[in-house]
Amino acid sequence: MAHVRPIATTRSATGIPTARLAVWWILASEVVIFGGLLGVYLMHRIGHPEWAEAASHTQTWLGAINTFVLLTSSFTAVLAHQAAEKGKGKEAAKLLGFTILGALMFLMIKSYEWYGEIVAGYTITANNFWSFYYTAAGLHALHVIAGAIIMGFIAVDAYRGRELHRVEIIGIYWHFVDVVWIFLFPLLYIAK
């Protein structure tokens, strides 16, 4: 294949491989996006005692199962990275497949949970608590969807033994999505 690699993918003044540098930069911006959103949620939650009533209706067990699913998918993602490090493309692809499965499971549980809330009348316009609930969890779910799609492409390449370094890159992103949920879970489901 007469494909010439762009210089930007091989050159790095920082000593960090360019792809990894790029994903860290993305995450640095994500920290401000999610951090800002959760910070504003926390401030309102403390300043508005009436939110306690709305917060008491979130379904802790569904949130807990999803936490377990995401933690497990992070585990399979890091095992995929480990396999890629050893040059085992097929093994890495299989583990990425499990991670994608985790993403799908997370989204199915999330859909079931939202369906229940919406049918009960707790919609995004019900009050400010529910606005935050759907905005924060929705933005996070979009990240899950984006991650799962990208992971699909990387898994196909990895299966053919190509671009194995990308397994680590998608892994770093995926763990970040996990970390965001680690904070969303207590904020929306545990501290009532």
């Binding site: 920082t14 960090i16 300043g47 933690l71 585990f75 370094h165 970390v179």
Partner: protein, 241 residues
């Protein structure tokens, strides 16, 4: 793979399985936290098990799964800058968001939102499945009980026992009135025509008789008869002299 063979990947072996099990155990503790806190009567346990454990879990994932611990220092600084900027933003707006009034301003919309929200919450508890549609502002006469209404609305700041020690009142300045303190009832501002004054404050808020503006007007919640019952209930906290 050539891009991968930098020092970052050499020389450290992480027990991923061990980290994963540690994460699961921490997760179980965070789920059990509120239950334990409730049984022991120590609600702060939930804060530790929820947010303290979230920090530990995040650190485990960031260091061991994302390998930030082995990353070049510049990347840690870039991420730290983001975190600092985020905290600056939050700290900058926190005084305006978390307080609903200051020396020269008052956030009426926020105060009304609190009042409306608490009233809706009180309405919901009368029956399940009322989430749809507007909540009744006047608590249904049939199921009305001054004690219940006090518990749902007033106790948030004034405390279940009327001692001014409710959760939401802890941060208020001036502090919420302590109905069990004789000094409250002997304050010249309300000794003259006491009953009428208490009723006015509940209905029209603190400023109506020149006391704290943090005491919101609750008149919209009650019919006249219910207001009288609320006054009776609040006055029942008055210590015998």
């Amino acid at each position: 793979m050539s891009e991968n063979n930098d020092s970052h990947d050499d020389g450290h072996h992480i027990n991923y399985r061990g980290i994963y099990f540690a994460l699961l155990i921490l997760f179980l503790i965070s789920v059990a936290g509120p239950e334990v806190g409730e049984r022991l009567g120590l609600p702060w346990i939930t804060l530790v098990t929820a947010f303290g454990i979230a920090l530990v879990k995040a650190r485990l994932v960031i260091n061991n799964f994302m390998h930030l611990a082995w990353e070049k220092r510049i990347m840690k600084w870039v991420l730290a800058t983001s975190v600092i900027l985020m905290f600056l933003m939050v700290a900058g707006v926190a005084p305006d968001v978390m307080n609903h009034e200051g020396n020269n301003w008052e956030n009426l919309a926020a105060k009304e939102a609190v009042q409306r929200g608490l009233a809706e919450a009180a309405g919901y508890s009368d029956g399940e499945g009322e989430a749809e549609g507007e909540a009744e502002l006047v608590v249904a006469a049939a199921g009305f009980s001054a004690a219940t209404s006090y518990g749902q609305i007033c106790a948030t700041c004034h405390g279940a026992g009327g001692a001014g020690d409710g959760i939401a009142g802890a941060a208020l300045d001036p502090a919420p009135a302590n109905f069990t303190d004789p000094a409250f009832w002997n304050d010249p501002i309300r000794t003259d025509n006491l009953r009428e004054r208490v009723l006015t404050v509940i209905r029209d808020g603190g400023p109506a008789i020149g006391v704290s503006a943090l005491m919101a007007p609750w008149g919209a919640l009650y019919t006249d008869d219910q207001l009288e019952e609320m006054v009776d209930f609040v006055m029942s906290f008055r210590p015998d002299e």
